[in-house]
Symmetry: none
Subunit: 223 residues, 4 copies
DNA sequence: CATGAATGAGCGTTCATTCAT
DNA sequence: GATGAATGAACGCTCATTCAT
């Protein structure tokens, strides 16, 4: 065993460790950022607060993220990735497609309930002012994950068409519509949940169930 | 005829005129604000620019609006009121309810096409960061108009249920769902229209038509 | 006399007053800036300190000057303008040209003695890093005044050539050389006055006198 | 032969080698710094860039230099030493003193042409802001080299006085003046070379020649 | 009512320097 | 000796809002 071999080895170990620590640190920052952004909103949150919240100096934050916006979108990316993961579990289920679509709605709702913080972030991070200050890689990544989510929905619908459960609609269009309905419903609920519940007298879950039901029904062939 | 009578009279006239002028001025500011907000977005627009754009001093703006956010939400209110007006035209149409729902979708889409500026405003102004800095009256007013729009949809669906065209669903829930689908679709299109068109290969109008169709279909009784 | 006439009049008065106050305020800022810049140097001075030093808020400073650099160069411009003024007094003197050149040296030295603060500023403000952040107008103005100073020297030398006191040299080149000698001498003295006086055993005034004398002598025709 | 003897010996060898390596490393840093400082200027250059540019870690730089300013002044010292070396070649020339003075001007100009990078550094590093952050030893060293340069000029002039070519002036003062003229001319040319050439219509070399000529002429006895 | 100069807290960001490894 | 992650004070600058005129 030569010296250089030793050094390479130790270098690899070091590099590995460094990378691991870097990732851990990034995670820690994102965790703190999530808390701050949710408590204060994007506009009112400050990088100072995020730094304080994870016990780091402000300058350190900028070693890991280029800007406040980049933190925000990274957070969205993480949230969306989690959602994607949850959604992809659908592939392992053996059910008729109409049940699967309903299941997707349930997955989305459960995810929303457990990760409410992410939602406001997901909605605002598509704002041009935010996107303008984010690197292309990050932007592309976030678009990619968004597409992947829609793909899951689209696949389920496609399968439904193939098995004759659904009419011959464009699966992408139908997926977009279902996705839009769910997003729109949650968003409108986020805007004014008290008012919604008061006026409508229905909670979000029931409305989403109803909405999924209507769309599933609407996708079926009139007999 | 007493002096005070005269004064009262003149006071009334004056007060009326003052109110009228106040309203005109507010309109002028909103017109300028719309231009500036649309060109620059909410975050990058400055009150200075709005003031310049309508030939007033910055301080004067604050005589008519409490804050930048209040201007923004007022603008949304105006947009939403216009939409409400358009939607209420549905009442004068004599068609079966399923056609009416489709018509509502068309009205919405046409309004969107002619008033794209308002939409971005409508979407952002529902963000908590913005709403937090707006007076209750204005907030209530905007919620009121929102409700009125939804009411129109709800009425149409209700009538559809009564005439046996639609299943016995909760009309408010169904209205919310339709509304959410349309809003969500437009919003996702606004976020990344190029990507959407590329990936999905369908333009907004077709998707909205398809979406309305699916929901209308879904509202109907399985036979 | 019409109403509009009155308004025009009052507008003029207002505008005049505003302009006058604006100028006064600018002067006040420059006065404070001079003190701060001299005490701390350009690099270590902060706009905050300048603001404190003249009892204004930091933001106010930026209403009058675009940047720290612009303040600095404005200060230089003022200093150079004062010097120009002093130098132009030479025109009213009736003396032979060789005496006038010596007189110019004296004027420069006296100005330096009374306005030492300006000199460091004049020297550093020609640094590219500083100039890069200054508006073209200001830069042009400062170049213009610099040229005007040199013009005075050049005129005196030209006259000396015409009256046969000096050889037929290029007056601009000679002026540049005289100017460079004086500037270079003062600058080297500024760098390390103690060392200079110790090592050389001569004070600045004597050296400048000697320098002017040598150059005047050198401009004369060998006989 | 004792063990301690061995150790001393090896210690000496080690120490020598260490010193040699230390010097080499310092040189490498200065080489990289020169490139960075010239490309970006003192203010905009960062220690990070210097470190990257010579393949060292930022912290390592601080093992060799106390501060960014110390690097800068070390660089100036190196430049000035080169100039000194060039100037001292004058001693081996057999020419009348007036020719020698002209020769010194030529040497200076040629050095400037080949080492423009150093000049900006030399000029800025004489600024109090920079000098304030530099150790006494380094400052003294730089003053020493500066003095040595001036000594060469002074010697030449002294010899000219002794041989009757020049008048009985103070040789140090005359040297300072010549030096100042050359420095001042180059500096003013560096500041705004385009403007200079346009306005004056003469290039630097001609002006420097003329300047040296005037001063040489001025040092001579009127006959 | 209208003005616009002044405010000043707060912003995102930088980078020379330190220090644990 | 070498590293480079972490620091954190300080930076220049912005702009919604106020208030004396």
């Amino acid at each position: 065993m030569t010296n250089s071999h030793n050094m390479n080895k130790s270098h690899n170990i070091k590099a590995e460790r460094r990378d691991r620590e870097r990732l851990t640190r990034k995670e820690a920052i994102l965790k703190a950022a999530r808390k701050v952004f949710f408590a204060k909103g994007f506009m009112n949150a400050t990088v100072d607060e995020i730094a304080d919240s994870c016990g780091l100096a402000k300058g350190t934050i900028y070693l890991y993220f280029k800007s406040k916006e980049e933190i925000y979108v990274s957070l969205m990316l993480k949230g969306l990735s989690l959602l994607k993961q949850e959604m992809e579990k659908i592939h392992s289920l053996r059910m008729p497609s109409d049940r699967l679509v309903e299941k997707l709605g349930e997955i989305y709702f459960n995810f929303y309930r457990k990760n409410k913080e992410y939602f406001r972030i997901i909605f605002l991070s598509s704002h041009p002012d935010v996107r303008a200050r984010v690197s292309h890689e990050l932007l592309d990544a976030s678009i990619g994950v968004g597409k992947a989510c829609l793909q899951v929905v689209s696949d389920v619908i496609k399968r439904g068409i193939e098995t004759g459960i659904f009419r011959k609609v464009d699966p992408w269009a139908a997926a977009t519509i279902l996705w839009a309905m769910i997003n729109g419903t949650i968003m409108s609920h986020e805007q004014d949940p008290i008012c919604r519940d008061e006026v409508i007298g229905l909670e979000l879950e029931k409305i989403l169930k109803e909405g999924t039901d209507i769309i599933v029904n609407g996708l079926k062939e009139r007999s």
